[in-house]
């Protein structure tokens, strides 16, 4: 087993015997707190600031079986210049595509600030042999991906084989080299908040640069309470060790209001240091258009129509 990065007391590995010590999550309290923070009223200048930040932290994603090089090229253009008529709108943080389309995205985004992220490790199920997963990771890094989004093996996690999950993350981290590693927990399949906390700490212990909620392939994805549980795990690691791990909620964030709620959650849990694309990402596809629409509404004062924004 590889050497674990430094972790809070009680979080050292192997994890199994120590699981009771990482604490459990108070379901009622976490849902109540997430709901309360979700009700914060963010208006006018603060809203514009939040919407600008939301765009800068978006991982603009397309993960469809029907993705083509043409669609990815269009996505890349949109990532660089989200609103063709408004140069004051910043670029998004990254585009996120399937491994086969990484070369297209790399070609399109060469020389710019927008990064290329790719899902790997038998996304979205993660149910493939480790060799296959590692080969996929090496391939996407070789093709030029700056960031790798891996999925954990939920089957192993739910049957209590935490060491297998841990080892896989460590091996993938090695294989991804200098590329940033985001670890997808797929919280919709983990069942409980306790499991979400456990999986978050496990992923951080194994060397994740980011923890990410979901693949976006399940109906239940980046809910506010789940995001809060993960953010609190990140905070616990930071307070004990000083290590800053990033967070990426993904899946189900479709409108600007939800995005702002997530940003409020981060600000209240981890503070403004995390409100940067280096430590926070929003995985989304349709969110970007709604944010653009809300920005134009704030600036012009008139309610806007999706007719005047690109279809994607």
């Amino acid at each position: 087993m590889a050497q674990a990065p430094v972790l809070p007391r009680g979080f050292e590995l192997p994890l199994e015997p120590r699981l009771p010590r990482i604490g459990s999550v108070d379901q009622v309290a976490v849902e109540e707190r997430a709901a309360t923070l979700g009700k914060r009223s963010i208006k006018r200048e603060a809203k514009l600031w939040a919407l600008d930040l939301a765009i800068r932290t978006i991982d603009l994603t397309t993960l469809e079986g029907s993705d083509t090089p043409g669609k990815v090229a269009a996505l890349c253009s949109k990532a660089v210049r989200p609103d063709p008529v408004d140069p004051s709108i910043p670029s998004v943080a990254a585009v996120c595509v399937y491994p086969n389309l990484v070369p297209v995205a790399v070609e399109r985004l060469r020389g710019g600030a927008v990064k290329v992220a790719s899902v790997a490790t038998a996304f979205p199920s993660g149910q493939a042999p480790l060799d296959v997963k590692l080969a996929e990771v090496r391939d996407v890094v070789e093709a030029g991906a700056d960031e790798v989004d891996m999925v954990i093996d939920r089957g192993a996690f739910l049957s209590g084989r935490y060491a297998k999950v841990y080892d896989e993350i460590v091996r993938v981290k090695e294989a991804s080299g200098s590329a940033h590693l985001k670890v997808i927990l797929e919280t919709g399949e983990l069942g409980t908040y306790d499991n979400v906390r456990r999986a978050s700490l496990l992923a951080m212990a194994a060397g994740a640069d980011f923890v990410k909620t979901s693949t976006g392939k399940l109906p239940s994805a980046a809910t506010l309470p789940v995001a809060l549980v993960m953010l609190e795990a990140i905070r616990d690691v930071y307070e004990e060790t000083g290590r800053m791990v990033g967070m990426k909620p993904a899946g189900g964030i479709r409108n600007a209001k939800q995005a702002v709620q997530h940003l409020v959650l981060v600000h209240e849990t981890l503070g403004p240091d995390w409100l940067t694309p280096d430590l926070y990402r929003l995985g989304a596809s349709s969110l970007l258009n709604d944010v653009l629409l809300q920005i134009r509404k704030e600036r012009t004062g008139a309610y806007q129509s999706p007719d005047y924004f690109t279809i994607d």
Binding site: A302, Q304, S305, D307
Partner: protein, 265 residues
């Protein structure tokens, strides 16, 4: 023993439901406290209309006519209540007759307003009317019921979804009509009725980029300013008469689409 009186709260009609104004405000009209809609209520109403529009527009014209006829039936059942809230029984009867009249037009509009055009070439060339989309209507102040029905039915029968701002001084008939609408098989969101101050709601509706046509029948104050705001997304602007009844009223809210189809292919 005397009963506790059950008083009525006069609310908005948005998306098939009866919400209070999101602002919680009311204003006094006809001796009652009536919901005073805010710009966010306009936003919600337009969103509801936009959501309901595709289904209403794609219904067969015959089916739309049937649904509107049922609206007349529901108004007939509320004859007495409506009469109390407008100038009397004769206004209600006129309004009901007008609904029936427009209901009958639903499946005849394409024949009368559309055409088959003679062209120099091997083509069938025909023109068909299609609904414009979401229509904002500023209802006339008077007559309270007939004015509303007169401006509401033309966009409705053509397959548009409507956001109507009721008469400011006489809004109760509109609220009563909303209750008839809610039981009439008109899908929720196809008609949305807001009560409140026109000077507050009209500019928001006129500037809303997701509204495709605007009927200024009941606009007061700076009408030119409303027209200017409506130009931002090239809304169709109509100055409807408070008492018009004609298929040409419907045409104001229809787009005529012309198709060239090659013959013999």
């Amino acid at each position: 023993m005397s009963r506790l009186p059950v008083r009525k709260t006069y609310k908005l009609f948005v998306g098939g439901a009866f919400p209070r104004s999101e602002s919680g405000r009311t204003y006094e009209a006809e001796g009652q406290n009536v919901a005073r809609a805010s710009r966010k209520d306009v936003r919600d109403a337009v969103r509801a209309a936009r959501g309901a529009f595709p289904k209403w527009a794609s219904m067969t014209a015959y089916n739309r006519g049937q649904v509107l006829y049922r609206l007349a039936e529901m108004m007939e059942a509320r004859h007495a209540e409506l009469a109390d809230l407008c100038s009397g029984a004769s206004e209600v009867e006129q309004a009901i007759d007008r609904v029936v009249w427009y209901a009958g037009w639903a499946d005849k509009l394409a024949q009368v307003l559309g055409s088959s055009n003679p062209v120099a070439g091997p083509y069938f060339n025909f023109t068909v009317p299609e609904p414009t989309g979401v229509v904002g209507v500023l209802c006339p102040e008077e007559p309270a019921l007939l004015g509303l029905v007169t401006r509401l039915l033309p966009p409705l029968v053509g397959g548009n979804a409507v956001v109507a701002v009721a008469s400011e001084a006489r809004p109760l008939a509109a609220v009563e009509l909303a209750e008839a609408l809610a039981t009439s098989d008109v899908p929720g969101g196809v008609v949305n009725i807001l009560t409140g101050l026109k000077r507050e709601l009209a500019p928001v509706l006129a500037a809303h980029m997701d509204v495709n046509a605007l009927d200024l029948a009941g606009a007061d104050g700076d009408v030119a300013e409303l027209e200017r705001a409506a130009a931002a997304n090239v809304k169709r602007v109509v100055h409807g008469a408070a008492d018009g009844q004609s298929p040409w009223e419907v045409l104001s809210f229809l787009e005529l689409k012309t198709v060239w189809h090659p013959i013999g292919v």
